[in-house]
Symmetry: C2
Subunit: 256 residues, 2 copies
């Protein structure tokens, strides 16, 4: 039974891609078969693993718009047990194109259903919006992983995101849960960051992962080498945090 | 003749709202009549100026969808000469709703045309996407102000943004220019940040503002007090940078 998680938060720049890529890499390193699906036209997850979005013969765009089977777009990465369904710039037009298509919210779910048994984990990196691409991800996922930047403005959007998850649960995916909130870019010296963590913890309780991902320059550098932090700087603060997060996710999933 | 600028970049979390709010505040402090239009459903610009997005009787949603005149939604702020056209959460549905409406790309331009003479500057804060809301902003603007975070992943999206600007210029707004790129969250100690600045400058030349906005915790704190940096921490590194940026924008506009 594979675990399917969407990395979603309409607030931009909170660490969705960084979390998706690095969590996927550590889960694969710990023996799990992992598929990372890039559902963002920016294709940051694709380039973070060393691929050029402009060179992709086929991408998640074709999967959503022309029902191309996922195996036809999936790429093997340099990391064993970690596969990628890359994005492309065409995906920028997909939101508008999807509006007119039948079963527009179910297209990703159908594509994943065909290959689900091949993977222990499927992570979907979402764009910073609550449009049809994110709705497709929420409809096909069992749980939502929510990166929350330790900043005031990042707090504001959480209620909107919760409303959207609630709507998807009611009309499209009754089993959808919040798998957990991940506090990112934590700077322990900043009082604001401490307040944001306290506020999120008081609101969401134990749905907030214990792991606090610190602000770490190495995490920003790794994508420029097309490498996850695991192979770029595993003993950096960012590397250790994402390894710990992977262990927390695995521990929680074992219990289920 | 008022200057109409869109703050646009589909990459999330690069400082669009922070730049829109603080540039608007300094331009107003220097004697200009300024309107800030919040076109993002997250309503971060709205809350950064002390308003509650859930309490707004009318917002840019009504302006776009039901042709409500802008003066009916404009709020006076605590800063003299600085007005706000607030957003609301309803805007999240606007992208899909706009698809079916006539003149869907021109609706903001028409609304601005009616009140343009009342302001010296109109700044439009865009969401992190290249959908119909951003297209409306690009169609109504004379120029685009592009905040660029000093991170590797922020570089990746610039060519896509330039393509979109080119498309809008060809089919919707022939006079649209790139007014300038603003480097944000600059950390001088990080080699990566220096490399990103050098790369952007070599690519865009003097379209890159000289002002480098440093990473400054005060800029993240100010929105939690509903204040621009000008009234929260004017002598902070962030405050001084945005004041300098306002002077640079004014100097460049005088020349035109
Ligand atoms: N813990 C961290 N420490 C330092 N830099 C980080 C950290 N996490 C992410 N970054 C950097 O911050 C920027 C934003 O992160 P990322 O792109 O992962 O966010 P996102 O939510 O996926 O953004 P978008 O909304 O555009 O999809 C990136 O340049 C990334 O390299
Ligand atoms: N120079 C800076 N130094 C420190 N923090 C900053 C700086 N500029 C912006 N921030 C903080 O970084 C976060 C992202 O900035 P902001 O929300 O302005 O970006 P944005 O591009 O508008 O994001 P979105 O794509 O979600 O609309 C915010 O929490 C903001 O307070
Ligand atoms: Mg991303
Ligand atoms: Mg913003």
């Amino acid at each position: 039974m594979s675990h399917i998680y969407a990395l979603a938060n309409q607030k931009g720049g909170v660490g969705k891609t960084t979390t998706a890529v690095n969590l996927a890499a550590y889960l694969a390193a710990k023996g799990k078969r992992v598929l990372l699906i890039d559902l963002d036209a920016q294709a940051n997850a694709t380039s973070s693993l060393g691929f050029d979005k402009n060179q992709m013969a086929a991408s998640t765009y074709e999967v959503l718009i022309s029902n191309t089977p996922l195996p036809e777009v999936i790429q093997l990465t340099r990391r064993i047990r970690l596969d990628l369904a890359p994005s492309s710039t065409q995906l920028a037009g997909a939101e508008v194109e999807l509006v007119a298509l039948p079963e527009r919210e179910w297209r990703l779910k159908k594509a994943i259903a065909a290959i689900e048994l091949n993977y222990d984990y499927i992570l979907v990196d979402c764009p910073p919006s609550l449009g049809l691409l994110t709705v497709n991800a929420l409809t096909s996922a069992q749980g939502v992983l929510i990166p929350v930047q330790c900043e005031y403005l990042a707090l504001e959007g959480l209620s909107q995101l919760m409303n959207t998850i609630q709507l998807v649960r009611k009309s499209l995916n009754p089993g959808l849960i919040v798998r957990g909130l991940i506090m990112t870019m934590y700077d322990g010296r900043a009082k604001l960051a401490q307040q944001v963590v306290a506020e999120v913890r008081s609101h969401f309780g134990d749905r907030v992962f214990t792991t606090l991902v610190p602000r770490s320059i190495r995490l920003g550098e790794a994508p420029s080498y097309g490498e996850p932090i695991l192979s770029y700087a595993p003993s950096s603060a960012g590397g250790l945090a994402y390894e710990q997060l992977a262990e927390e996710v695995l521990a929680g999933d074992r219990v289920d």
